[in-house]
């Protein structure tokens, strides 16, 4: 539809796009499929700013700007959902206190909350190194959605959201995490690739499993430290 045939004005088309993306993020089952090749960061930011952030350049659609901003070729994108037998409010509250995240996200050393929106993250990197960055919450809908993106000076650009939605049939809450990383090139890029594992989807899946264990069973299942024969 993005051609002369369209009767929409650029502004109304843009508004329509944003609305569609907001609805995908707020309720879509397959978010990454819906977003296709658009940058998650751009869309999260655009929705947060009502589209203003990316309206600057004349003659370019929001979509086009977002693609320019992204360079999606090297992005790592992950989407994973788990159902947890607890009300959305409990899960949102635990997650919204970002200092709780390292208890179930093993690659994180710490998350320090700076103010209501800003936080400082420290992650383990190979060879005893650490990677640090600041993140900003760009969308916070209590008991429903938390979206964040790294600040411009982050060594690794990363954005994502977690969404809590009551599931069918009294099963608790569907928790969906969608994340996007832009690893830089060079040594740091390699280190970051290792940090997020060879299979980021499995890592996020594991983290969600641990979150579920903690929320449902009150502890994270482990065998670390048990005896074993020589």
């Amino acid at each position: 539809m993005e051609n002369a045939m369209s009767t929409q004005t650029p502004a109304s088309k843009q508004a329509g796009d944003l609305e569609r993306w907001a609805s995908i993020i707020g309720g879509g089952a397959m978010v990454l499929t819906g977003l296709q090749r658009r940058s998650l960061k751009g869309i999260l930011t655009a929705i947060a700013g009502g589209g203003l952030v990316y309206q600057g350049t004349q003659g370019k659609s929001t979509l086009k700007q977002v693609e320019d901003a992204a360079g999606l070729d090297h992005a790592i994108r992950v989407e994973k959902t788990v159902t947890i037998n607890r009300p959305a409010a409990d899960l949102y509250a635990f997650w919204r206190d970002l200092t709780n995240l390292p208890t179930f996200m093993r690659h994180l050393q710490s998350v320090q909350v700076i103010d209501d929106r800003t936080s400082h993250w420290v992650a383990n990197a190979p060879l005893g190194q650490a990677i640090e960055w600041d993140a900003v919450i760009v969308n916070d809908e209590p008991n429903h959605l938390i979206a964040w993106t790294s600040t411009d000076d982050a060594p690794i650009e990363n954005s994502g959201f977690v969404r809590f939605r009551p599931s069918a049939g009294d099963r608790g809450t569907e928790v969906k995490v969608v994340m996007e990383y832009q690893p830089p090139g060079g040594m740091l890029g390699t280190a970051i690739a290792k940090l997020f594992g060879e299979e980021p989807e499995q890592q996020i899946g594991d983290e969600l499993h641990r979150f579920k264990q903690l929320m449902e069973a009150g502890e994270i299942a482990t065998i670390e430290g048990q005896p074993k024969g020589g």
Partner: protein, 400 residues
Amino acid sequence: MKAVCWHGSQDVRVDTVPDPKILNPHDAIIKVTSTAICGSDLHLYDGYIPTMQSGDILGHEFMGEVVETGPEVTNLKQGDRVVVPFTISCGNCFFCNRDLWSLCDNTNTNAWMAEKFYGHSPAGLFGYSHLLGGYAGGQAEYVRVPFANVGPLKVPDGLSDEQVLFLTDIFPTGYMAAENCDIQPGEVVAVWGCGPVGQFAIRSAMMLGAERVIAIDRIPERLALAEAAGAEIINYEEMDAGVALKEMTGGIGPDCCIDAVGMEAHGTGAMALYDTVKQAVRMETGRAMVLRQAIVACRKGGKVSVPGVYGGFIDKMPMGAFVNKGLTMRSGQTHVHKYLRPLLERIRNGDIDPTFLITHRLPLEEAPHAYKIFRDKEENCIKVVLKPFATTPELAGAAT
């Protein structure tokens, strides 16, 4: 402490290892007074279950005395005598809440691995590969029991270890196998395999109202035990079990067929050879002779129940027979927690005395020998109970 450790195919050893510690708030440490070797341990022993690691402590049928509890364990105290289900269950997830304890969402430490194999992960099990959690097992002097507030059942005074030990696995497993048949009055139940699970399936089928039970095996002492329980028997080395079943049921076939053998079935004829060779070169993970025969033998519209263990893939599944005869098949690792109390009652009120099964009582040190005789069915071995802290006279005394 001493523990029975897996070191490779047909290589188990009694190693000295560190004592277990409380690792999580819902853990307890149990001093093991009795622990049995399960038929499913033989699949590990024979190297057919992937993701075992050298040094893994075996054993999922065990009971003993609580010696330590984590801060969140409120229902047990030091000195309590408990039997422990082989399935580890959190007690709070969707599946635990629906009595599907062996499908617990929260106890497999390697859920991601199981998800790759099976699509979803079942519960973690004691001593049964890293695919199912990698938990150290109970063929040891001490064992760590996660979610001790959920699983262990306190044993009432007056019941011996041997009377209640099999509540950990094989009695509930045989019982669930029979329950999965939804036995109606007048029905005939055929049970393939007269090992421990088969023996409990035979007796459970009778408790649940089967009019006749037909037991199939080739080992004389196992068939004798089935016969003693009131089953009719088929020695499949002497006759074709499929033909015999049809003759014995007036051409109809058994209403319910229980595969209490699983992935290491023995058989006769070309198909058995096919499976043995293919499994030996790891081109299929299960030899499914019994399951195939059960499906073909079962009466139209009948029920097939599979307590036997399968880990991966099988060949030549007779799907045509299954579909065209309108069969129902049910299976699953046992939801032990669901059966503990009702089956304890069965033992207390004398419906069954599970000690009939025990042929060998040995110290833990003799585990390697015990695995061998159990696997090769030497010394008429049907069920071995290991007693880590018993003295020699106690073992000798118990055997009389």
